[in-house]
């Protein structure tokens, strides 16, 4: 009867004793080493509560680290990694079952045993496929986002060697045993033929079996020992990071500025200013580079990348962590390895956080560093002037508050003043929609559409200030609070049931960051959501079917951050246009590079062969067959893409229109 024989072919009693003692010792070494590394997270980093909802956290772990759904987003590397990872899961499970079988409850006999053997062997083959894919990728294809250092090469070689070794051990046993059920171990049996055919004597085979078995358990023990320092530690840190991911805060809400016991703010000047979770993030990074691939700033600039940001924190932790934990000095992070340029180049689009297979929060890290730089006054001139304008005039354009409602002056029907009369919808217009001459036409059109729909709405006129979304992301918490105060005071005097805005940035902060007492549970809608509702309920009649072939750009703060994907698309379809999706659409949309205060900063010089994200985006749109129009739902996108169409010479080939313009045309 087929059964698993514990320690087959291994000299007793020393064999098992040696194996158990050495492996156990290796495991202990692993635990000690890992603890020494991990303890730095909470010894150096700030405290943070991440233990709530344990079951939900476990479920996340299963989705992210076991099913590895994020990794599967890219086909080749996804299959490659899953084969390697799952093979090891199975091998580990196999060894665990074997141990249980050997010492507690014998069940690996008969059919269960055969299935057990079969599964293990199949996964060996699966692993080999993955190994070939990985080797080809790392040594031949060499994609830009990978770190091709010896560290990673050795890790790959090592894990492949262990599996080959294991297969060899099995093949020698099968060559000796020649059991009837050998076909249930197809891979091992196939290799065993080699030894059988070459007629190697029994004794030699036995010797080889013991030898390779020894190498096997020694190399696995070695793996345990070196794991904490090798790149393979992500086997442990990855699931940990997924388990401890942020659950309480929506992505659209930044973490509050932490205060110490004297109520003074704590800035991320040194490692001590980061939370233990952020340090865990840094230690988890596998340098896969997916974040870098989707980062608009990296693809336009060069050395500036989310991966590099995290890796630099990790390097600092490895270099100084122990000394800091022992009470030594904490060197500054920004300025040493992490340049100020790197910190400022983030657009806070969130694409990196979304792609990361181990759920690292890059954006939060960048904002924390910005908070530090702002606290030190290390702000470049143009941004400094804009912040001063925001503080003094409440808008980023440096124009008088009295000029804010000027866009509405030429409208035949006056827009209601929400400060003076109760309205159902309070329309928080936003800076760009109010002041930028490229956008005000669209704002007027939007107002007229609302009026035609019989909507009961009003605006705050001069009482409105910049909502503060990007001010917060630039790291100026004090100014953000100041703007919130001003807006809160203005809103507090108004009577309304719902809020609308056409600016996704405004939408994000009103929805996620403004104090609950201010919002009073009242919903905030983006104009695309409202317009879609109005069209669906017939309050506006989209009589003229436009028939354009269009594509739609998902704004970062509407799509990725707040999951509003459907309403704009339904609206486009309702106007009778055909929507063709760009390759990077929905949650994978490429940021136009205006967010995170980038539109207030000096662009810096571009690498010669790189192009601006906005230019890359309009080219992507124009490349779609038959598409003549790029539809946007954000005033900053409108400005950025119209400029990009000019600088890429696509005038006449691609037209950029705001959703409201499309709706207006369809209502004519």
């Amino acid at each position: 009867m087929p059964e698993r024989i514990d320690f087959w072919g291994i000299p007793q009693p020393w064999g098992p004793i040696l194996v158990y003692s050495i492996v156990s010792l290796a495991a202990i070494v692993f635990l000690v080493r890992f603890y020494r590394q991990a303890s730095l997270w909470w010894k150096v980093g700030r405290p943070e509560r991440r233990w709530n909802h344990p079951l939900l956290r476990l479920w996340n772990l299963v989705k992210v680290s076991i099913a590895q759904l994020r990794i599967l987003r890219q086909r080749y590397p996804g299959i490659m990694h899953l084969t390697l990872a799952w093979a090891y899961f199975v091998f580990f499970l196999g060894t665990a079952l074997a141990t249980i079988n050997g010492h507690f409850f014998k069940f690996l006999e008969g059919s269960p045993y055969l299935i057990y053997k079969f599964v293990l062997d199949i996964f060996t083959i699966v692993f080999m496929v993955g190994a070939v894919m990985a080797a080809f990728r790392r040594f031949v294809k060499k994609p830009d986002r990978l770190t091709l250092s010896p560290r990673y090469t050795w890790s790959l070689i090592f894990i492949i060697a262990i599996v080959i070794n294991g297969l060899l051990v099995e093949s020698f046993r099968l060559a000796i045993q020649k059991p009837d059920w050998a076909l249930w171990s197809p891979a091992g049996w196939a290799l065993a033929q080699l030894w059988i055919v070459t007629g190697i004597p029994q004794v030699v085979l036995q010797g080889l079996h013991v030898a390779f078995y020894t190498i096997h358990f020694l190399s696995v023990s070695a793996l345990f020992v070196i794991l904490p320092a090798s790149s393979l530690v992500h086997i442990v840190t990855g699931p940990l990071n997924a388990f401890f991911a942020e659950l309480d805060r929506p992505t659209g809400r930044l973490a509050a500025l932490p205060l110490n016991k004297q109520s003074e703010p704590i800035y991320a000047s040194t490692l001590r200013g980061l939370t233990w979770k952020q340090l865990l993030d840094a230690d988890t990074c596998t340098e896969c580079g997916r974040c870098q691939d989707v980062c608009p700033s990296y693809n336009a600039g060069g050395e500036i990348s989310p991966k590099l940001l995290v890796v630099k924190v990790r390097d600092a932790l490895r270099r100084d962590g122990r000394a800091i934990a022992a009470g030594g000095p904490s060197p500054l992070l920004v300025g040493d390895g992490i340049s100020e340029a790197m910190v400022w180049s983030c657009t806070t689009c969130g694409a990196c956080d979304q792609e990361c297979p181990v759920l690292i929060d890059h954006t939060g890290l960048a904002v924390d560093f910005r908070r530090y730089l702002v606290s030190e006054g290390k702000v470049e001139t143009r941004l400094s002037e804009t912040l001063a304008n925001l503080s003094r005039y409440g808008n980023s354009f440096g124009q008088s508050e009295r000029a804010r409602p000027r866009w509405a002056q030429s409208l035949p029907v006056k827009v209601r003043d929400a400060r003076k009369e109760a309205v159902e919808y309070l329309w928080f217009v936003g800076d760009y929609a109010s002041y930028n001459p490229q956008v005000t036409d669209v704002t007027r059109q939007t107002a007229e559409i609302f009026q035609k729909a019989g909507l009961d709405f009003g605006i705050l006129y001069e009482g409105e200030r910049n909502s503060g979304n990007d001010v917060r992301r630039v790291g100026e918490e004090g100014l953000f609070e100041f703007l919130v105060e001003k807006n809160t005071a203005a809103l507090g005097k108004c009577t309304f049931q719902k809020m609308i805005t056409c600016d996704p940035h405004t939408y994000n902060t009103l929805r996620n960051e403004y104090p609950a007492e201010v919002m009073g549970g009242r919903p905030v809608q983006h104009s695309s959501e409202l317009l879609q509702e109005l069209a669906a309920s017939g309050k506006i009649q989209l009589t003229k079917k436009l028939g354009y072939r269009v594509t739609y750009h998902d704004p970062c703060y509407l799509g990725r951050y707040n999951q509003v994907y459907a309403a704009p698309r339904e609206l486009i379809e309702a106007t009778g246009c055909t929507l063709v999706e760009m390759p990077r659409h929905g949650a994978q949309a490429l940021c136009c590079n205006a967010g995170g205060g980038r539109i207030w900063m000096d662009e810096g010089s571009l690498r010669e062969r790189s192009e601006r994200p906005s230019e890359s985006r309009v080219r992507e749109a124009a490349a779609l067959p038959g598409v003549e129009m790029l539809v946007v739902a954000c005033p900053k996108d409108l400005v950025m893409f119209r400029d990009a169409v000019k600088t890429t010479g696509l005038e006449g080939k691609l037209v950029v229109k705001e959703l409201a313009e499309l709706v207006g045309e369809s209502m004519a």
Partner: protein, 324 residues
């Protein structure tokens, strides 16, 4: 007090500044109406020759080694002495790095009234009125000039340089320098502006960019237009301060004054510090989205189109026109 108009001759490194001729032109106008004389005060060391084309009735020349280069303290003492001796009706100085260093000091020391940012002085007989422009060109102030020796610092723009030049050298009278010992300001050295690329002051066609260009890489658009036209790019202070263009391209009060045949002002508001440096142009064409921008007061033609739209279109058309 008599009706003499005293004009300070500003010169730097052997060249008389344009503002001096403008002051002389203004002085002549007042002198004609009030019956006074125009007296130019030239201080220097071996600099008598600089007086040859000054349109003055008389040149007072003071020679002293301490006056070889401009020195605020020395000049203040000198002018104070001249005023004390001659009691002129007006003392005209340029509103410049030279004139503004001494005018207010003289006003304080001698307790004489001072008018600054003056564009023009009108004279009806002995009645003089001043017209000054302040607040970035957005405000005019006019009023009578008091009936005592008055100091005036003037901005260019009211007269052309040629009006202050004379074909015949004026009469020169030498004057003794007052005591110039114990000066508390000393010149150590001059520092030349770095790396002269192009001398914009000699260019017949200039494309000027201002704040309206917004971002550094929009400069490409302006450069393209300049290239198409065969002209040179220059800029106002905000652009140069950001290091988007070198200081040698600065047009303005602390930069260069230019007199091209055509000056194309893109996204420039036209504040006095810049406007005064381009008034010598034969023709100014202004592109600015703000219809109330002061640049339109000095430009011959204007448009409120966005320069980012107009410049590429114009560059295309110019290339077509040149290419045939």
């Amino acid at each position: 007090m008599n009706q003499e108009i005293l004009v300070l001759v500003e010169h730097l490194r052997g060249q008389v500044a344009d503002i001096t001729y403008i002051l002389l032109a203004q002085a002549r106008l007042v002198a004609q109406a009030s019956g006074g004389k125009v007296c130019a005060l030239l201080a220097g060391h071996g600099a008598e020759g600089l007086s040859r084309d000054l349109a003055a009735d008389q040149v007072l020349y003071v020679d002293h080694v301490a006056l070889q280069e401009f020195n605020g303290e020395a000049y203040t003492r000198l002018i104070a002495a001249v005023i004390a001796e001659r009691s002129p009706r007006l003392v005209l100085l340029g509103d410049t790095s030279v004139g503004a260093d001494i005018a207010s000091g003289l006003s304080a020391r001698l307790e004489l009234p001072l008018i600054s940012c003056c564009r023009t002085i009108k004279a009806e007989g002995s009645q003089l009125t001043f017209s000054s422009q302040i607040c970035g060109g957005k405000l005019m102030a006019e009023g009578p000039i008091p009936a005592q020796t008055t100091l005036v610092t003037m901005l260019p723009g009211g007269f052309r340089v040629e009006q202050g030049r004379s074909a015949h050298p004026p009469a020169v009278t030498r004057m003794e320098a007052p005591g110039l010992d114990g000066l508390r300001i000393t010149l150590k050295q001059y520092i030349e502006p770095k790396g002269e690329d192009v001398d914009i002051a000699r260019q017949p066609l200039l494309v000027g960019v201002g704040r309206g260009i917004q971002r550094q890489d929009n400069l490409e658009v302006a450069q393209e237009l300049a290239d198409a036209l065969g002209g040179v790019l220059c800029a106002t202070r905000p652009v140069v301060d950001q290091n988007w263009l070198p200081t040698s391209r600065l047009v303005g009060k602390s930069g260069k004054s230019v007199k091209p045949q055509v000056y194309l002002a893109l996204g420039i508001s036209g504040a006095p510090e810049h406007a005064e440096a381009i008034t010598g142009s034969e023709m100014i064409i202004a592109v600015n989205t703000d219809p109330t921008a002061p640049i339109f007061n000095v430009a011959r033609y204007g448009t409120t189109h966005d320069l980012l739209d107009l410049a590429p279109a114009l560059a295309d058309k110019v290339r077509q026109a040149k290419g045939g």
